[in-house]
């Protein structure tokens, strides 16, 4: 009885996995079709989110297992580059069964929608997410116009 249940679970687990894969396929389709997004798929690495809060641009990148000292962020005007190395060599004396995680170096560059003030930029690394808060340059900040 138990073994039957177990088989059933495994079968359903596989179905779940398949369904999730299918779901993400369509997400990618939507993304490429929308003019608001760049032409990106799952291949870009590391994946990032960019949001605009008026005064700041905030960019978050997924960098699990990357150390602070192995990350480098360069900003010039509205150009941003994130480079890094992930040092997760297989442990000594172990036999490898599966390696799905990315390893080695990566680099990604962006053209930001606004110029940013690089001297006031802040970067934090928590739980494998790199978060950059980039204040917009004075000229790029929204200005309120008083109506005459």
């Amino acid at each position: 009885m138990f073994t039957h249940l177990h088989d059933m679970h495994q079968f359903l687990g596989a179905m779940d996995l398949f369904r999730n894969r299918m779901n993400t396929i369509f997400n990618d389709f939507d993304r490429t079709a929308s003019p608001a997004y760049n032409w990106v798929g799952t291949e870009v690495h590391p994946p990032t989110n960019l949001s605009d809060s008026g005064d700041n641009l905030e960019i978050v990148a997924e960098v699990p297992g990357v150390k602070k000292e192995d990350l480098e962020v360069k900003i010039q005007g509205n150009y941003l580059q994130i480079t890094g190395t992930r040092k997760n060599a297989p442990p000594e004396g172990y036999k490898t069964h599966r390696t799905e995680r990315t390893r080695g170096s990566f680099s990604r560059s962006f053209t930001l929608p606004y110029d940013v003030d690089a001297s006031k930029a802040e970067a934090t690394l928590t739980h494998g997410l790199l978060r950059l808060v980039l204040p917009k340059a004075e000229t790029a900040k929204p200005k309120q116009i008083t109506i005459q």
Binding site: H6, Y94, R101, G128
Partner: protein, 128 residues
Amino acid sequence: MSTNTDLVAQKDQGKNISKQLPVIAPEVDVFENDQEILLQADMPGVLKEDIVINIDNGKMVLSGIRRLESVGADTWKEFGEVEFRRNFSVPQSIDTNQVNAEFKDGQLCLHLPKSEAAKPRQIEIKAG
């Protein structure tokens, strides 16, 4: 006027939200030596308290919920709030009471030690 007839405010709304999160399988590396099986999984952005590891009847379920605080309007979004979930079959040779896990920099490191009986042993031949 509210048409809600409940006397008590419902508190299980958090649960409902977590059920609606898309589920994705975390990427894992699996290694083995004579003492243990070592499993490493990427779960960027997940907090330690939001990770659940259940081992039952030879099956291990790994689950971690990622919540993101968002500020302002999204210009682009390539990852979102998800539940990382994946099932594994655990061999009988694993001592499930001794399993321990650590979580650092968005990666989970799970040590599954083999039980004494399953470790390789060299038999000495006695002189006859």
